[in-house]
Symmetry: C2
Amino acid sequence: MPNNYSKPLTYDNAGVIPANESSGMTGLLKSIKKTFEIRPSALELGYFASVIKIGGGKGIAIATDGVGTKILVAEACEKYDTIGIDCVAMNANDIICVGAEPLSLVDYIAVQEMRDDLLSELGKGLFRGAELANINIPGGEIAQLKEMITGLKPGSGFDLVGTCVGTVDLDKILIGQDIMPGDSIIGIASSGIHSNGLTLARHVLFEKMKLKVTSHQPEFGRSVGEELLEPTAIYVSEAMELLNAGIKIKSFAHITGDGLFNLTRTKAKVGFRITDLPEMMPIFSVIADGGPVEPEEMWRVFNMGIGFCVVVDPADQARALEISSRNQHAQVIGHVIEDPEQHVYIEPQNLVGTPATYFKKIK
Amino acid sequence: MPNNYSKPLTYDNAGVIPANESSGMTGLLKSIKKTFEIRPSALELGYFASVIKIGGGKGIAIATDGVGTKILVAEACEKYDTIGIDCVAMNANDIICVGAEPLSLVDYIAVQEMRDDLLSELGKGLFRGAELANINIPGGEIAQLKEMITGLKPGSGFDLVGTCVGTVDLDKILIGQDIMPGDSIIGIASSGIHSNGLTLARHVLFEKMKLKVTSHQPEFGRSVGEELLEPTAIYVSEAMELLNAGIKIKSFAHITGDGLFNLTRTKAKVGFRITDLPEMMPIFSVIADGGPVEPEEMWRVFNMGIGFCVVVDPADQARALEISSRNQHAQVIGHVIEDPEQHVYIEPQNLVGTPATYFKKIK
């Protein structure tokens, strides 16, 4: 879709269409749901990870995700040793959200051409990610798909996808079933852009602002490429400690595409009022100004500095905050409200919306 | 690599380089193996599926694989409702090889552009595959990667990958640990080319022989596209019945890339003497003649009519053969021999080789 420079940028005109606006998606979901008649699923679709019952009160949690177009930034920088961390992060952070302990990840690497430099560099990141998530990588697949994969330079294209599994006691599956109005929402800082919204970010930074990955950007204190490649934070150690701290975790939310709307992926139908935000990270203010990209879109597409949320009873807030702050800044960002329509209010930004309507200005 | 028309075709000059000949692969494997220090793996690398210990004597089997360039045939035919079956087959057939029962598959679909027709058609195949493999599909991921995925026509590219999990009692993991010289090898027929060797097949059929997907090919009794798109056979029901039939299964082998060398993915170091082959399927004779492609290469790249092998003690052969024949033709194709170097002899073709040396003419 040609970009209309007279209008603020949205994710749509940067080339990504919300999947739930596709009728093909409806057909696919219908087929997928029909498989639950073959073998029941422990969870409906839409939570951060799926859970498969295996008997003895146990479940396997499973989640699959790729690194997306962060790969194109890695290609432009010719730096491949950290996006394996992103691959682990995107999946392990989803697994912990259903209360499961991540155990293992298998990777799928599709390459345009076999390149000796690429695979061993990807391996370094996968290993580092595995260390941070306390998992192993017991296998994987490499596919040579010359005519299906493309990239920035001839032959340089690749894709990197992971599938993570973990285990959870069925009676401890966490899907926000006990979340209550008044519960506190703790936000743990992201490390930067993570692995979502890169299509829009690249469009703004490289096409609109004409920056290069090597451009030094004063706000970042480093190059644009270095800022974008900052690996996605892995929240496994905090989440596991929180689950074992003797307090009741009401829900976890990995803040990926759709931003804080990820809070609404709960069984209990409640709303979320965000009242206190951390200081805006430079990567997001540079993109917002450079687009320009309206706050409505920024807050839907990016994590905006909050990579992971923990919802607890206010009585457990102090202890939860202490553990949540282990590796990154964490703070209370708001609280749960009664709202069967599941609105998310971002009051400091004057925004309100639901996953179906997206954000609009309040009043 | 430019194709040398004066030489018989190999998979290399059709554009696929054996992964074990890449030094980057060595580096990647080193990193992957190092993750076993973080969390031990129940199995070494190299078997059909990985197994993760989860306590209580139970393991999760996990395997990931894509449909590869069979997708380009689907694109050329504009027929997308069966390759979901291939996606399930490639993974579920691997899971049963370690003695596990497949339970669930998550899919990853990367698209160049959101296309309403594509997703719901892919869903139909995924559902049919799930029925045949008796699994559900509890989740998946759709990624829009306009600049990373390409295809035959503008915007039409996509990739389809699955990860299948199953469960296995740790004391019943099947990795050919008890295989013995004299054991019988049963071969169950493939349904056609399955999902391996499509790069070479397409090169021969479409570039060398100048056929089109719509060309009616007398040997196939249908069009080239229909023949190539024949869904990969799913062997789950036979395999589960064999595991529960009260006979001792020595090993299962899903015959994918590397052909009958897949027999050697056993813990016990033995050789395999293939003495009786089913009649050559037309798809393979047409490719062999059309390349020409030498038998050494044909037998390494393609399943050559045998999609799945079952190794049993000769005393169990009759019962195993009866069950193996439930859905497809099955026959005894040879037997296990003493050979620590794990040669595979294909005597009717006068070929011998190991996974490291590939096939050469005998003497």
